[in-house]
């Protein structure tokens, strides 16, 4: 074996350890736990809903809303299909693989940039500690796809391309990085725009420093709009140029700008989370000091051009940090914290580079081991359901599925406090089966319960029998994503998933994911204009119960419309089918 390959063994060990730390051996049990915790509310709203709609032939942000970008659900649907199908198990599998690839790419980046295996391993451990095992994530990050690598997975590839350009100087890498940024805008506009800003800064700095001509910068810059336009055109066809798409894409951004869903930056202070608040202020300070210091020294020609990567990372970090500035919850700064991790590695390398080669290697490995130990002793790292943590344990073990900070069970934590309707549930029973972690004796029992509860084939058959293939099915249910995918039908409603999920057996009303008067009117107009022949609705929303709907959300007007225009004709397990009776 040649010496070059032998030199790579520490890297191979680090990547193998990373894969072992991230790999989840029992995906089924963990998916079952997520189902019991939030009934896939976060999975459905972020990925599975729009991914299924796309796979079924709906046009995203024209037929069905996609709150997290146009391309993301398409890409995720593609990967889930490769993994075996669009469902929660395969979404979790895809996310795990994405994390393994993502952190491996950042490791390669840090390894080449910082030229130190130990330091790169330390960066990796710090990345896992900061992002994946953050103390405020409950019970583990992959429950919330919008806070994971799903949001910003292309940045690792982008920075590797920029690194290649800095080292080799060939324009093709700059063009590819621009194309990557353009595609990322299509994938998820907010994080994509951050990459565009980082690209523009890098090019501008290179031009100012004389490393790049303005002409070639402009030429390679065409890759950004070209990649965006091509992706959009392929995905949406003629819809890509219409005003409807533009309006729909900007809808949620406009709410944000006006203050809907934002969180004040001092909220964590008022909640007594002082460490979280301190970090929230500290991270942008690190970015800004890095940016100014590195730019100043580059301007004075006192450091070589490879250091520009720290400034580009800082610009990207500052751009990404707008997410935390708008939604300053303690659970958000880690979501956009990866550039901070890399910059911490950069400063550590500057400190270590003051010593000679051998002590530097030892110190770097000591740092890596220290960070790995810190990671290993973090409760959230101990709770991550990987091979080591699950050795001889069930996912139901209190160290893996920890109770909520207020001591209440994790299972059904989103819905258990809902107001009840004075009636029986959709099955005509009073038993809601809101089981807790303590009600299951093994992972197999948990998985068996999950499979039974999440099998909605009876309702799917009802939908498939009354709605011809290729047509849209109007389903008003907490599990509409599952029912429609089992029935293999397109969603009818633009605002889909229709509800913020709650267990099907509950005799309570779920809250529709309709936030504004405009969205409510759009939903009512859809039913009035398209006049679907059948509407499928959970039996608990029967006409005699409609008066119990909360008048403050959109459910009451929807139920009033449905029950005044449709009459029940058939019953599945949870759903009843209503046929249009009024013109």
């Amino acid at each position: 074996m040649n010496k070059g390959v032998l030199k790579l063994w520490p890297d191979a060990v680090v990547i193998a350890l990373l894969a072992a730390a991230l790999w989840i051996p029992d995906i089924g049990a963990v998916t079952a736990r997520i189902f019991m915790g939030d009934q896939f509310h976060h999975f459905d709203q972020c990925v599975l809903g729009p991914a299924w709609a796309h796979a079924a032939g709906a046009v995203l942000d024209i037929d069905v809303i996609s709150q997290y970008g146009l391309g993301m659900p398409m890409v995720m649907a593609f990967f889930m299909k490769i993994a075996g199908g669009i469902d929660p198990d395969h979404l979790l599998t895809v996310m795990v693989w994405m994390y393994i690839f993502y952190f491996t790419l950042w490791y390669v980046f840090a390894r080449i940039w910082l030229k130190n295996t130990g330091l790169a391993a330390g960066v990796l451990a710090f990345g896992l500690l900061t992002h994946l095992c953050h103390r405020n994530v409950y019970p583990f990050l992959l429950t919330y796809p919008s806070a994971t690598v799903v949001r910003f997975c292309w940045d690792a590839v982008f920075f590797l391309l920029i690194l290649a350009h800095v080292r080799v100087g060939r324009g093709i890498f700059l063009g590819l990085a621009g194309a990557m940024a353009g595609f990322a805008v299509f994938y998820l506009s907010s994080t994509g725009m951050c990459l565009v800003v980082a690209w523009a800064f890098y090019v501008l700095a290179s031009v100012v420093l004389g490393n790049l001509s303005l002409k070639s910068a402009a030429a390679w810059g065409l890759g950004i709009p070209a990649a965006f336009a091509v992706s959009l055109g392929i995905a949406l066809g003629h819809h890509a140029v219409g005003p409807e798409l533009q309006h729909n894409l900007s809808e949620f951004n406009n709410y944000f700008i006006k203050g809907f869903g934002t969180t004040p930056i001092y909220e964590s202070l008022q909640q007594g989370q002082y460490y979280v608040s301190l970090m929230g202020f500290f991270i942008p300070c690190v970015y800004i000091v890095t940016l100014t210091c590195v730019c100043g020294l580059l301007w004075l020609r006192k450091i070589n051009s490879i250091n520009i990567l720290a400034a580009v990372l800082a610009v990207y970090g500052l751009a990404m940090y707008h997410y935390y500035i708008a939604r300053s919850a303690g659970t958000n700064y880690f979501t956009v914290g990866i550039p901070y991790v890399l910059i911490a590695g950069f400063w550590a390398s500057k400190v270590l580079n003051r010593s000679s080669a051998v002590p530097r290697q030892w110190a770097a490995w000591a740092l890596a081991v220290g960070l790995a130990a810190a990671l290993w002793t973090t409760p959230n790292a101990r709770a991550y359901p990987n091979v080591l943590n699950l050795l001889g344990k069930s996912v139901l073990d209190p160290s893996i599925t920890r109770p909520l900070p207020n001591g209440k069970p994790y299972f059904h934590h989103l819905a258990s406090g809902n107001a009840r309707v004075p009636s029986l549930n959709s099955l005509g029973e009073s038993d809601e089966q809101l089981l807790t972690e303590r009600d299951f004796t093994s992972d197999d029992k948990l998985k068996e319960f999950y499979r039974k509860e999440f099998d909605l084939s009876e309702d799917a058959r009802l939908v498939a029998a009354l709605v011809p293939p290729g047509e849209k099915a109007a389903v008003i249910s907490s599990y509409d994503v599952r029912i429609l995918s089992q029935a293999n039908r397109k969603p009818f409603f633009y605002h889909y998933p229709f509800f913020l999920s709650r267990p099907m057996r509950m005799n309570s009303f779920a809250v529709p994911s309709i936030y504004t008067v405009g969205q409510l009117n759009k939903t009512l107009k859809q039913m009035d204009e398209a006049k679907p022949a059948f509407i499928f609705i959970e039996a608990v929303y029967a006409p005699q119960n409609a008066r119990f709907a909360n008048p403050g959300n959109g459910l009451l007007p929807v139920l009033m419309y449905v029950h005044s225009h449709y009459t029940p004709v058939a019953k599945g397990k949870y759903l009843m089918a209503l046929r249009r009776s009024a013109p």
């Binding site: 006006k258 707008h322 500035i325 809250v511």
Partner: protein, 145 residues
């Protein structure tokens, strides 16, 4: 020489950070006297979700923070042109940083009590006094120069 330039550049970055934080604090204090007008927006949100409307000015303040940093740093580079690699400015920069950091610490402490202790008068007085002293210190430095 390279080492001296690096140390000076780092100190100037820290001073710039302190100064831009104070610019943001001043802007936030001034803006706090002008409530955000929502207009019809609140009525467009369904009543159930209206408590999720928390209008804020944190985005423009963050942009101000970044922009001010760039401008102040560029100004510092211009003021110190030709001297960034010299040892003699290091002590001056260090002293200036310590003074600025002390101001920021006092203002941050006052801000902490404003947000966590129900906006007490004493905290506001300390904040305004620190900002006033800092402005006076800047003016004094300018006159002396």
């Amino acid at each position: 020489m390279r080492e001296a330039a690096a140390r000076n550049a780092f100190l100037v970055s820290l001073i710039t950070l302190c100064e831009s934080i104070q610019v943001v604090i001043v802007a936030a204090v001034v803006l706090s006297f002008y409530p955000i007008i929502l207009g019809d927006f609140l009525n467009s949100i369904l009543p159930f979700f209206r408590d999720m409307v928390l209008p804020e000015r944190e985005m423009p303040l963050f942009a101000l923070f970044i922009g001010t940093n760039g401008l102040i740093y560029a100004a510092w580079l211009w003021v110190l042109r030709g001297r960034m690699e010299t040892q003699e400015i290091f002590e001056d920069l260090k002293r200036l940083f310590l003074v600025q950091a002390a101001f920021v610490f006092v203002e941050a402490a006052a801000g902490f009590f404003i947000f966590t202790a129900g906006n007490p008068t004493m905290a506001r007085v300390v904040l305004y006094a620190a900002l006033g002293l800092c402005a006076a210190e800047h003016a004094w430095r300018a006159v002396r120069r």
